[in-house]
Subunit: 640 residues, 2 copies
């Protein structure tokens, strides 16, 4: 076999050098070099995000619509469409490295009652009833006349003092038992999983009776981890990170595609496990908590994220008839999953409903407590997908409406997540068409997040910058409308005043993506309700969860036809309800068990197969809707 | 820190070279070089077995009683008492590498009944009722109207076709499920642990319905492994090996001592796991069985061996009041134990009774079926220790009588195990005192095994070579009695006619060790019986198990006072009953569960604390016994 030629590729500004064979894919080379290069499309040349500049060397690159004119002359290429044909030096545009800031839910602690903290009165109150307990226990000392085994005598104490029979004691505990008993004068602290009747750990008796747990939400875009005191319910620490799988594809579909490549599933799994390990270490270090005192972990996430976390092929989630391998994974030990820094801890996952209605939604339904109340509640989780559940204590129905990542910043050129530097509120001056805005954290904007985009579309529509189809109105004198090679752009702020040194703008393609996303959400709501012969007006309460940013302007969300046109008092905006539900489960075995009941009680509607949904979706491709009567409050003040 | 000097030690004949620091222990250096050097004492200079020859280099060696005169001049040293002080070349006396040949029990297969094969009528008959089953199963194909998860539909099939509810399906199965179902047109073969309601494996549907299991006995000296067809009970393959832990100490006490050294426990564990892995691989390769078709493993062994196998500190087995950490380990997956070549297999261990009455004895009691019969049975397992159980279906009592390894070849200079080259039968000519013998496998002898030693002591005693105290009779003209520097030796065969090139002999020290061993066994039997106010004569049946060699001469065992002087028809000699019991458990869940009952029903008597035992032991230090009336048949023909 002839040796393939190999070339050195130097990556700037990191100066990292990697060796690759001839014709190696440049984007893969950059990923191999450990640099997270953005790519919403998973590397097939359709998102235009993996642009890099070739400083020297021969790089063969396919023609594409994203790199033209000056950029092309300057050596820019889409790395995913490029092959290495000589030693080369590549400059990778540095993105501002920002850590997602997700607002932590406030939790009120009242004696033994912990509220999920959303709106105390009506929402899930949880009595602290942890399933993992720590107890001090005395073990009888053996004598020649009573020389039964250490474990026998321990079991006897468990029976007499805690009334526990036949507790399972795994090997890792057995190994520590003889010395620990003798070094602690036959008095030790035991950690028990009451639910599984299993001993998790043993420690010296003088260890404080403290137990901690982790609540984890694995989102397509964001990972959120809480470190919780299981005795008081206090949240000791809070960490969040981007899901590092983003570099393999921004949305669920692209990740599933990537998982089917050779080694892809494992790379995805290792990526997310690695970030979770980082967060665990950070929280343990910051809180100064002994890893041995962490005794449990509850996780929630959408079905694809769960498959990837457990290393189970998610392939068939994407293929007709869209099935998961399982909606509930057996409780598994951290070691088996590759989680580090905590030992002997079991990971409990919250049961999902279906391929596109995962445990994150079950967890959210638990957190908003809708399954215990009589009023008709609509729960909307606007993550990278849009998921809906409607119902009450009698019945629940749910669906996923493939909103796409537009409201989380995907599919929109200047779209970013709700992080520092993101435009979160927008106002357009009617006379000048100038855009005014508010930036998260202040300073110059680097992009626009979900709540900002809702405002922007709403404002552009109301002020006549765009028409009902989302096309720019070229009849008006709008100095902020620029015409480029291929499209029109409305300039939110120009390069001089932006944090990126480039214009912050929105194009017709972007608007189109946003309209499709809002149409999907609304037609999902309509389809769900109509399936049970209910109307928009019947809704008593709407909970909106997700990562759009907390300052969402509900009126604008109605104006663009994303949310139903009902009294805005009925709306409650929440943050991440998935991690809130996991938190509740951590504190209460009953709640955890109840999540499986919730999951089984939600009837799943597969919208991708629904003709009604498609009809409504098409009707929703107008602002706010084809039939203005559907949005009476918009109809009132809209004058085309 | 100053660097310690390092030296090269070349090991002959293997020519292996190892680097060691100054003053490094020579025996450890040889062990590090991967050479199993014998050492009954565990390396403290009291057994004299780790003798090597220094060919060149400076080796500092402590004075000792084993190396004297010519040997000393020739550069022989005890490696355990030697330190490396320069580069050196060391010659290690090569022992014949022999693999232990242990006779396989014959198992009669009769339709669905499997007998433990010892003596069919009266012994444990087992109906094949394996707990691990393999079944073909059809899973419904999902449709858009019925797109539940793969696992949900599998569970539904389990319910409808096998009436199984809530089967636990672990991650490794979940990972394979989606592709296997689709590649096999929704029909797969499942392997189920019915006892734990857990799915162990899934395979393509066209896999034969074959299931295999391993029965393993971990003896202090020997490891025995059987590969069993779980459907027919047929033993497909059989392997045995010395327990490689021998190099760290020949008996239990020395191994426990070694386990308390830094890293010792792990080295012991890894040694035995390594050998078991070798045997597994050999059996799988020879039988051409797919590792995926191996579904279970049952192990038996004494308490110390079990602790070492599981990596649990055995330290307190040796210390007053002699307790185990546990007599029963939680069923553990092979992966966690470090076992290779078989995956997803759980290891089930047979419950032990106490520190010195382990699962090997419980397993033996199951195999001889004494707990189900009314006749008074004495079960003796003469392994490296001697263990006894007496009783019937109403009651059982057991003890361990610290016989020591004399009858397995330990503590006797020319003693070896019952392997090829071992003298197994002995006859002494009354007129010439010449010794005649029979060698296992024929050819020149390399040593003498347990059955040979029993014959030898009996013959020497009867023919007047030794007196009742085991001292050589120097008044007779015995040309085979040699006087050396420190002791008298009776020459069994001289150097010219031996397979080792050295005399095969027995010394007074050896005889002393053997007499102490036989005294321990007999006084154990006496103590046990008297504790329940029974006499030797009340015994209906005696089962003798163990590794002494199958041709044990029962009359001689009575003559030396090891076994009770009762009708020899009451004796049944068996081989390894520990592995036989494990085999029965493999085929029947009921039997396995019953072993725990057996273990709990045996009342353990701690002899090391018994004054009665000590009295009888001292009385047993004569041939056959202080009081000749105890052995009427010997009394009859013995004329001092």
């Amino acid at each position: 076999m002839l040796d393939k030629k190999h070339f050195s590729v130097k990556l700037l500004p990191s100066e990292k050098i990697i060796k690759v064979p001839q014709n190696y894919n440049l984007r893969q080379a950059i990923l191999d070099g450990g640099i997270d290069i953005e790519s919403a499309c998973g590397g097939v040349g359709t998102c235009g995000r993996c642009k890099v500049q070739v400083k020297s060397g021969r790089i063969y690159s396919k023609r594409n619509k994203f790199i033209k004119g000056k950029e092309k002359e300057d050596g820019y290429v889409l790395s995913c469409l490029s092959k290495v044909r000589s030693d080369a030096v590549i400059f990778i545009l540095e993105k501002k490295k920002v850590r997602a800031k997700i607002e932590e839910g406030k939790f009120e602690i009242d004696k033994n009652k912990i509220y999920s903290g959303i709106n105390t009165d009506e929402l899930a109150a949880v009595e602290i009833k942890p399933w993992i307990i720590k107890e001090r226990i005395n073990v009888e000392k053996p004598t020649l006349d009573y020389n039964t085994s250490d474990l026998y005598r321990l079991n006897k104490s468990l029976k007499t003092t805690l009334n526990l029979n036949d507790v399972l004691v795994p090997l890792n505990v057995i190994k520590k038992l003889p010395h620990l008993l003798r070094e602690n004068n036959w008095e030790i602290a035991i950690t028990l999983d009451k639910s599984a009747n299993t001993m998790i750990n043993i420690q010296p008796h003088n260890k404080e009776k403290k137990c901690f747990g982790f609540a984890l939400d694995i989102g397509t875009t964001t990972l959120v981890l809480q470190l919780v005191d299981l005795e008081t319910g206090e949240i000791i620490g809070y960490a969040s990170e981007y899901n590092p799988q983003i570099r393999f594809g921004e949305d669920i579909i692209n990740r599933i595609v990537y998982s089917t490549k050779s080694g892809g599933l494992n790379r995805l799994r290792e990526a997310v496990i690695g970030s979770i390990n980082d967060m665990i270490l950070r929280l343990l270090t910051n809180s100064n908590i002994d890893e041995e005192d962490v005794v449990s972990m509850v996780i929630a996430g959408n079905s694809t994220m769960m498959h990837l976390f457990y290393g189970v092929p998610p392939k068939f989630i994407r293929e007709m008839p869209y099935v998961t391998v399982t909606n509930k994974f057996l409780n598994t030990c951290v070691d088996e999953l590759g989680l580090k820094y905590i030992k002997n801890v079991k990971v409990y996952n919250i049961e999902g409903v279906a391929s596109y209605l995962g445990g994150d939604i079950t967890s959210g339904v638990l957190a908003v407590n809708m399954s215990k109340r009589e009023e008709l509640t609509l729960f909307i989780d606007l993550g990278t997908n849009g998921e809906l559940v409607v119902g009450n204590c009698e019945w629940m129905m749910g669906c996923s409406c493939s909103a796409g990542p537009a409201f989380e910043g995907g599919g929109v050129r200047c779209g970013i997540r709700a992080i520092d530097g993101a435009i979160e509120k927008v106002f357009i001056d009617q006379s000048t068409y100038k855009c005014f805005f508010k930036v998260i954290g202040g300073g110059e904007p680097i992009g626009i997040c979900g709540s900002g985009l809702i405002d922007l579309i709403g404002e552009m529509f109301l002020k006549g910058v765009i028409d009902r189809k989302g096309k720019f109105n070229t009849d008006i004198e709008n100095p902020y409308l620029k015409c480029t090679d291929n499209d029109y752009r409305y300039i939110i702020t120009n390069a001089e005043n932006s944090g990126t040194g480039e214009d912050i703008f929105i194009s017709e393609v972007d608007i189109d993506n946003l309209i499709r996303a809002k149409a999907a959400v609304y037609s999902g709501i309509k389809t769900l309700l109509e399936d049970v012969e209910l109307k928009i007006i019947d809704i008593d309460k709407v909970y909106v969860a997700g990562g759009l940013g907390k300052n969402i302007n509900i009126q604008n969300a109605i104006i663009i036809g994303m949310l139903p046109d009902i009294n805005t008092n009925k709306y409650v905006f929440l943050g991440n309800t998935s991690v809130k539900g996991a938190y509740l489960c951590l504190l209460s075995e009953d709640k955890y068990k109840y999540t499986s009941e919730i999951a089984k009680n939600i009837t799943y509607i597969e919208l991708s197969a629904s003709i009604k949904f498609m009809d409504r979706y098409i009707a929703g491709l107008f602002l706010p809707y084809t039939d203005l009567k559907e949005f009476p409050s918009v109809d009132l003040f809209y004058s085309p």
